[in-house]
Amino acid sequence: MLAYHFTEMPYPFLPDDAEETYGAMRVTLPSRYCDPKIAHDLYNRYLDEYEYADELGLEIMLNEHHATATCMAANVSITAGTLVRRTKRAKILVLGFPLAHRSPIQVAEDAAMIDVISGGRLIAGFVRGVGTEIHPANTNPSDTRERMQEAHDLIIKAWKTQDVFNWEGKHYHYRYVNPWPRPYQQPHPPIWITGSQPAAVPWVADHHYTLATVLTSYEQTEALFTAYRKRCEEMNYPEPGTDRFAYCALTFTGETDKKAEEGGRKLLWYLNKRRPVGFFAPPGFVPPQGLTRFFDPKGMARYNRTYEDLIDQGVIIAGTPKKVIEKVKYLHDRCGVGHLLMMNQAGFMTHEETKRSMELFATEVYPELRTWQ
């Protein structure tokens, strides 16, 4: 099993009433609340943590979001660009390139540059982008899945063809597709896809890509990964190994139960934010059936979970090294997960706390995890 360090690079230093005044932490929270001097320190601190992950033997996961204080990483290629030369060995998992919102040629070029400069350390995750990405990019929410799949087809063709071709599809039109360079890993880096809906899983299985879930419960994760394995069985594909399954949780390793819980509770900052439906689930982004829960107080219970609920569901994995091993073992055995994506930092968690947790994990938990197939 491999473990990846991940932070969304949050900007938590906001007035208490900012979220209340602007209705949400995303889309409508004005950038005047971002002090560039504080942001400078934060970026460099978070990048230091990524470099520390490389030193500790952990892999690295990066993402991006837009118009939000929860994630200052606004361009995943820039973050990756700062890290490729400052890290030596870690895989750089980009999870992911927002395919529905970006030129596929730009993605093919960015990914190839990262891969070539790093000497083949890139894992290229392709994502549709969450609902709150719709308004900043102003992409029509009803065709994001279509755009993502067409962009995927175009990028993979460009990487495999290694020649100039014409693409006149539904959403993308290029008369001369010819992105330079081509990736270091041939024909292309490993591809990962995030998923939260069972209906989207067969496509991932059909392409033999790694399926990653983000902050889903054990139950949801198991259902998604079972759907993947079932598809492989139905289609007579070789049985997928654990390397096809990745799980992202909020994680904290502490010396004592008390310290672990204190750390775990700090991670809640990320989850306890308002989710106005118009921004989180714009019409068309998910089918109407998936939208109804946003208008149903019972359906929204998912977003009002207690710390204990989140621990029980595996969304937060926090504990002493021994407890963390037990919890990850449970996850590994129940869901067949081969990649643990660790959101080791959120909200007000300090640099020292983050580093200490990473260190404890790397020295006292990871050696055990590494032996699991």
Binding site: N138, N140, G278, P283, P288, Q289, T292, F295
Partner: protein, 264 residues
């Protein structure tokens, strides 16, 4: 008189239609509203009018095939629907997004349109880039929408809206599908076609605009700009009505529309 639910096939697309009365048809185009409850305006139209109210593709019982994905597709479908009525040129009333569809039909062909009534319609860009001419009602809460869309926000309960108390199950599902379908055609630019303003000058049939005086979703000033772009168009403000005069002042709207249809 009671409404009859029917299905009409236009260009291979099955559309849900509700119909009432006999005589010369008047086609009413709404946006993402439910088929029932029926807006009281529709009931208030004169008995001698055959009201034909199709739901747009993807709205209520109407299909939304993959090939229908632009406003232009809706405009041609609308024109083909009128032709399919086989009643010669007919009167068309459009509200909101439905008004935009009606305008896009009229700039393309007058063959099937006799007169056009536009009620609190969208479709054009009037103000500076930094000004939202059409409010973002799909982002706002039920309370915020009531404040913007109604003269009397307390009366907003009659128009079903996701997030409103008691809106659940199939009704909620239909409302969500309806708004999703409409937004497929109206996301970017939001609720307008930059080409429409100039093209409105092509309209040769009598046009009259009806606007809720208190509409803050698309203001009466926006309506005036729309009126000025259409040769010879008239304008009637509906007092004590917001964005939905068909709900808030149905009788006053019916009187005004009937007067237009009888006089022009």
């Amino acid at each position: 008189m009671t409404w009859v639910s029917e299905t009409m096939e236009v260009d291979g697309v099955k559309l849900g239609v509700r119909r009432r009365g006999e005589g010369a048809p008047v086609v009413i185009l709404y946006g993402d509203q439910l088929e029932t409850p029926v807006p009281p305006f529709d009931d208030a139209l004169a008995a001698g009018i055959q009201a034909v109210v199709p739901s747009l593709p993807g709205v209520n019982r109407s299909e939304l095939p993959g090939w229908v994905d632009t406003m232009e597709d809706l405009a041609f479908l609308g024109l083909d629907l009128l032709e399919g009525l086989d009643a010669g040129p007919v009167d068309v009333i459009g509200h909101g997004f439905g008004g935009w569809v009606a305008a896009e039909m009229a700039v393309r062909s007058h063959q099937q349109i006799r007169r056009l009534a536009l009620v609190d319609s969208v479709g054009i860009k009037v103000s500076a880039p930094t000004v939202r001419d059409v409010q973002d009602v799909y982002v706002y809460t039920v309370q915020e929408v009531a404040e913007l869309a109604w003269h009397d926000p307390a009366a907003a309960q009659v128009l079903r809206w996701p997030g409103m108390d008691g809106v659940e199950g199939d009704e909620l599902l239909t409302l969500l599908r309806n708004r999703q379908s409409v937004l497929k055609f109206a996301w970017r630019p939001f609720m307008y076609n930059p080409k429409l303003m100039r093209r409105l000058a092509r309209i040769r049939v009598p046009v009259h605009l009806f606007w809720g005086e208190s509409d803050r979703v698309v203001t009466p000033d926006y309506g005036r700009a729309l009126q000025q772009a259409i040769p010879g168009a008239g304008f009637t403000a509906i007092p004590k009505a917001g964005h939905y005069p068909q709900w808030e002042q149905p009788k006053a709207l019916a009187r005004a529309v009937t007067k237009f249809l009888e006089s022009s």
